[in-house]
Every structure is written in C-alpha cells, then in structure tokens.
Amino acid sequence: MDYFIELFLSGLTRGSIYALIALGYTMVYGIIGLINFAHGEIYMIGAFTSFIVATTLSIYGFPLAAIVVVAGVAAAIWSSAYGYTVEQIAYKPLRHAPRLAPLISAIGMSILLQNYVLLAQTSDFLPFPKLIPEFAFMEPVAHVIGSSDLVILITTAMIMLALTLLIKFTRIGKAMRATAQDRTMALLVGINVDRVISATFILGSALAAIGGLLIASHIGQINFAIGFIAGIKAFTAAVLGGIGSIPGAVLGSLVLGLTESFATGYVSSDYEDVFAFSLLVLILIFKPSGLLGKADTKKV
C-alpha cells in the first residue's frame, strides 16, 4: 500500500510540473489558436536562469529560502521577457498569415533558443543546487513523499488558485476570456487584443519558469535539451485535457503524471513514455476534443 501511495504522490508531483508548463500551451492556444512549440524552451531558460541566480547566491552564502524566492522571481521575469519577445518577433507579424506559417515559425524559435543556450552555456549536464532541504517534520512520511515533492505540490496548488482568481475576477482576466471566445467582439468592446496576447505569453512563460526551477531542483541537473521532452509531455497533457481549456490542462497533466508514475513503478521506467502516449492515442480516439475540451463546431 505504501508503494501505491508513493507512486500516486510522485505522479501528482510530476503532473503538477506538467501542469505549470501545459497552462502556457493551452492559454496561448485559447487566445490565438497557435501551438507555441518554443514554450518548452522558455521553461528550459527558466531553469537556466534560476540555476545561474541560485548558484551565484549560494556562493555568497544567502539563506536557502531567500535563494529560492530570488531565483524564482528572476526566472519568471527573464522567461517572460523571452516569451514576450518571441511573440513580438516570431508570431505577431504572422497574425493574419495562414495557420501553418506561425507554426513553422514556432518550431524555428524552439530550435533557435535551444542552440542559443547550447552555445551560450554548455552541452553538458549542469548540477543544479538542491534548493529544497529535507524538512525534519517530514521524516515520518519520508518513505512515501519527499520534502521537495511536498513543496512542488503546495506551490503548484497555490499558483493554480492565483491563476484561477486572476482569470475569473481581474480586468485582464476578463479581457483574456473575452478574446479567447470572440476576438472580433473583444476588439469591438475596446479590448486591446495585442496587449492581451502579450499578457498571455508573459503569464504562461512565468508559470513555465517556476516549473523549471522546481523540477530542476527536484531532479538535480539541467541541460539545454530539457525543454524539448518536457515541452512534448506538457503539450500532450494539454491535448489530453482538451487544448484551450485551463482546467483541462491541469487535469490532463495530473492524469499523465499518474499514468507515467504507475507505469514506471509497476512495469518499467523504460515504458513510461509508451504508456503516456498510448493514453493520448486512446483519448484522442474516443474523445478527440480531450477530456474537458469542447467539440470544435465552427458556427457560420
């Protein structure tokens, strides 16, 4: 039973991280109908930024809590700057182009950012400092859940709550929902849609950066290619849940995380991807719009 609980909790942890990345995919898709393939790289840049900041601060002997906060904020800001810039230079000029054009542009940005980090940093795996200590009070349950899992779960839950409140109640949140539903009408009530799109990229990038920090500290190493596989997994999770749906992205991520965790635990870690993508194929066969997605009926 302990083993089951351990797998369940580590699946939730994994799923939470996917969710932080998947939200960026699904929000951007909801607003402009684009799969932002460079999003995984934004997450990777978040991990590198927090690596640089955290390593520097730990050399100067700052307390761990301060390091986590400063590294998280720095990563969120820096990744947002990248996300914003990518949108401005690679997608905005293609706003009225056929849908394939921005998609190719997104793949191009993904390759560009990966290789830029490869050149600017290194191709080696870098040891990421352990930012989350083993808490003493966690000792009795340490065999089923680690301290960093707990921190990841709590942080993610808080971020999800904040995001929900932001989207439900703030002015920018309402503008985002309006733009996602009907862009022409959003323009006609006076919403600056360009600004809403920028805000969406900034928000999605910041979430991915936090995910980057948390997972890097959890796993303990990073390199320039981590964005690719994390991006593919989070994208899978977003599609699984119904792309464009925010609760769908969270649900899809948790389902994917649990599937992988149980597959690893009961079968073999070699097969975790097989199970993950088989699940995707099954869901797409029986419910093509994803778990919480709406069927795409275009009104004329």
């Binding site: 002015r171 309402k174 503008a175 929902r177 309006a178 539903q181 009907d182 022409t184 009408m185 959003a186 323009l187 006609l188 009530v189 006076g190 919403i191 600056n192």
Partner: protein, 240 residues
C-alpha cells in the same frame, strides 16, 4: 434641424482582398439622427460598419468622427471616442455570464458611478437581464441575446451606435420590440444611430434618412419617407 455632423465617410474604399469591397462610400450622419443603410446581401453594409470601427482597414478615403479623422486608428481607440457597434450575429460572449458581458461593454470606462447608473438603466430596460445576470450568455434565446448585445453596447455610453442587422433571425413580435427600443435609445439619450438592415421596411419607418448601397457604392440617398415611396426602392428592397 439636426446638430453638426457626427460621422462623415468620404470616398471610403475598404475590404479584405476583393471580398465585399467598398468601392466608394460617402455619407454623413448628423448628431441625433437615425440613419439606415439598406442594400442586398454582399453589398458591403457590414464592411462599412467594420471599417468605421477600425476592424476592416480603409484603403482610401476619410472617416471623420465629429471632424476628427479616425481611419487607421486601433479599434479600442475608436470605442474610446464614443463609437460602439452591435455586430451582425450579436457576438455574445457565450461562455461568460450576462453580467460579465455587460461589464465588458464598459471595459474602457473608469467612472464607477456612471457605469453603475448605466447598468441600472439597461436592467430597467430589460428586467430579464437582471434576473439572469449570473447565467451564461449562451443560454439566452436569440431575441434576448440581441437585447444583451444592445445593452452591452450601451454600457460604453456611446455617442454613435452602429447596429448591424438587429432584427436578423428574430420573430416578428420581437422585431417590433427591438425597433421600438432603438427609437427609444435615440430619443432618450440623443444617441446617434447608424442602422444597417435587410428589413428595409422597418428600418425606414424609424429612420430619419436612408442610404442605398449597391456593390460597394452609395447609389441613392433621401429622407426615409421619400425612400419608402420611391418606386425603385419599393421594387428592389421592400418587395412591393
């Protein structure tokens, strides 16, 4: 008899590609007037409104709002200057509540007291909206959605209200009601109204003047009364 020009279109050419292009549209709307633009499907009526709102780019000509050029401005700037549109098909935010739809109507306003007052006004105009304020907009019937769409536009407290086919797809009784409300909005708030309609008969009955659009050109303009009695208009648009 009317105030100064609220809106002037001078030789407007507009459109995406070659579809529904406006070739040469000139018209004037005075402050406080109800003007209707009638024409067949595809004549460019909706494109005219979308060009005024800044959604469809103008390729040539001038649009003056109270003497100031607005062509080329971003749509949100045009809304901020007092031009609201109820587009064809109503475009209710179906997943948002009635209240949120109305809130979005006043998106650019910051005068809380005024917004409150206008909200009370539209709720008194359409009490069913108040009853269903927490219901999602998509659950309303066609006629109710039209009233919500008009209320949303009023929440911007516009000087100029652009209405695109407000009677489309509605039952005759509902159509009567909608036109009565349009007239009332014009009277009570001195809101200038530019009404695009296929239902030329009803539109000409409440309008002061009308323009006839054919293939992207204005071919005829006159007082609404004379247009109603014009044999050619009767034959082409009134089915007489």
């Amino acid at each position: 008899m009317w105030g100064d020009a609220m809106l002037e279109l001078k030789n407007i050419q507009a459109g995406y590609g070659n579809v529904h292009a406006l070739r040469d549209v000139s018209l004037t709307i005075h402050t406080g007037e109800i003007i209707t633009l009638i024409g067949a499907n595809g004549a460019g009526k909706s494109t005219t409104l979308m060009a005024i709102s800044g959604i469809v780019p103008c390729r040539g000509g001038q649009i003056l709002l109270q003497g100031r050029e607005i062509q080329g401005l971003a749509p949100d700037r045009i809304v901020a200057m007092g031009v609201s549109q109820v587009p064809e098909g109503r475009h209710i935010f179906a997943g948002l509540t009635v209240q949120e739809n109305l809130d979005l109507g006043s998106f650019l306003r910051t005068d809380k007291a005024g917004i409150r007052q206008d909200l009370d006004y539209v709720y008194s105009l359409f009490p069913f909206l108040a009853e269903r304020r927490h219901q999602s907009g998509g659950t309303l019937s066609g006629g109710e959605q039209q009233m919500l769409a008009m209320s949303r536009a009023l929440m911007a407290r516009p000087r100029l209200l652009l209405l695109d086919e407000p009677s489309m797809g509605l039952a005759p009784l509902m159509i009567k009601q909608i036109f009565a409300i349009i007239k009332a909005i014009n009277k009570e708030h001195n809101t200038t109204i530019f009404l695009v309609e296929q239902n030329a008969h009803q539109a000409l009955h409440i309008a002061d003047r009308g323009y006839v659009l054919e293939n992207g050109r204005i071919v005829l303009t006159d007082s609404a009364e004379r247009l109603l009695n014009n044999p050619e208009v009767q034959k082409a648009y009134l089915g007489i």
